[in-house]
Symmetry: C2
Subunit: 133 residues, 2 copies
DNA sequence: CTCGTGCTTGACGCTTACGTAAACGTAAAG
DNA sequence: CTTTACGTTTACGTAAGCGTCAAGCACGAG
């Protein structure tokens, strides 16, 4: 076993912002909304691996078009404590809902991709016809 | 050949709203943004199959989290006239961009689904452990 | 001491995508 | 003729998701 103490890296707000290409304002806003809870050293924010991961999840959620409220419920599922039965059942229900949502999206995407392919074929054909004159 | 003239169905704003479960306000708003261009009979809006299809596309775009501006460029690609070369090249470029976007989303979705499956497994396990006591 | 750099907290502004009346038109039904 | 249903425009309201100052602290370099 490697019992070497990894110093558990931390990041400044600017470092995270640079890495994920968002503004400081954005990161602070997510904190405001309860999505991030960085440590404070004095007044300064210090971000731990957990925060970094969560920011990644948040941004992926955004790319998927979820609202920050929805993202909050999703992200919070990831590090939910075992908890009592009611909690677990609720969580499982949330997962079902989310999955349905995501599967709808996936289907929408596939349909759109197919149709784009058709439009593209049409374009290519038109272009070819235009150039062979 | 069936040369029966199909009367080319039309819809009222309320009918479309009911069918797609949106409000009248929403449909009018889309018109304001140039996404729909219903016929006018007097002051009243009359929607043709084309409008109906476009509304479907718009709403699918919304489910995918696109902004109305993005949706406009997408939907307009569907019924673009052949046009001149520059137009076609531009269109093909747009398609490439959109496809990249959609494929990113698809990947995001698959990752999220996998992770949700993990969380779910954890939940099921916790639940089982809890109940077998 | 001063400067620059990086961080902090307000607080107001802006865009998007509608909601929500208000006030009015029209046409069929009672 | 009045009610009812269905439509219209105009316009202000709002929630989300930040952008954009302003003003200030903290700290190391020069």
């Amino acid at each position: 076993m490697h019992n070497i103490r990894v110093p558990a890296q931390t990041w400044s707000i600017a470092e995270l912002a640079a890495e994920y290409d968002v503004t400081l304002r954005t990161i602070r806003f997510y904190e405001d909304r309860g999505l991030l809870t960085p440590e404070r050293r004095g007044t300064v924010r210090v971000y731990h691996p957990r925060d970094r991961v969560r920011l990644g999840l948040i941004l992926r959620g955004k790319r998927l078009g979820f609202s920050l409220d929805e993202i909050a419920t999703i992200v919070d599922m990831y590090d939910a404590e075992p908890g009592e039965e009611g909690q677990l059942v609720y969580l499982l229900d949330q997962i079902t809902t989310r999955r349905a949502d995501l599967e709808q999206r996936r289907q929408d995407i596939e349909e759109t991709l197919h149709e784009l392919a058709e439009v593209e074929a049409r374009c290519q054909a038109d272009l070819k016809a235009l150039r062979s004159r």
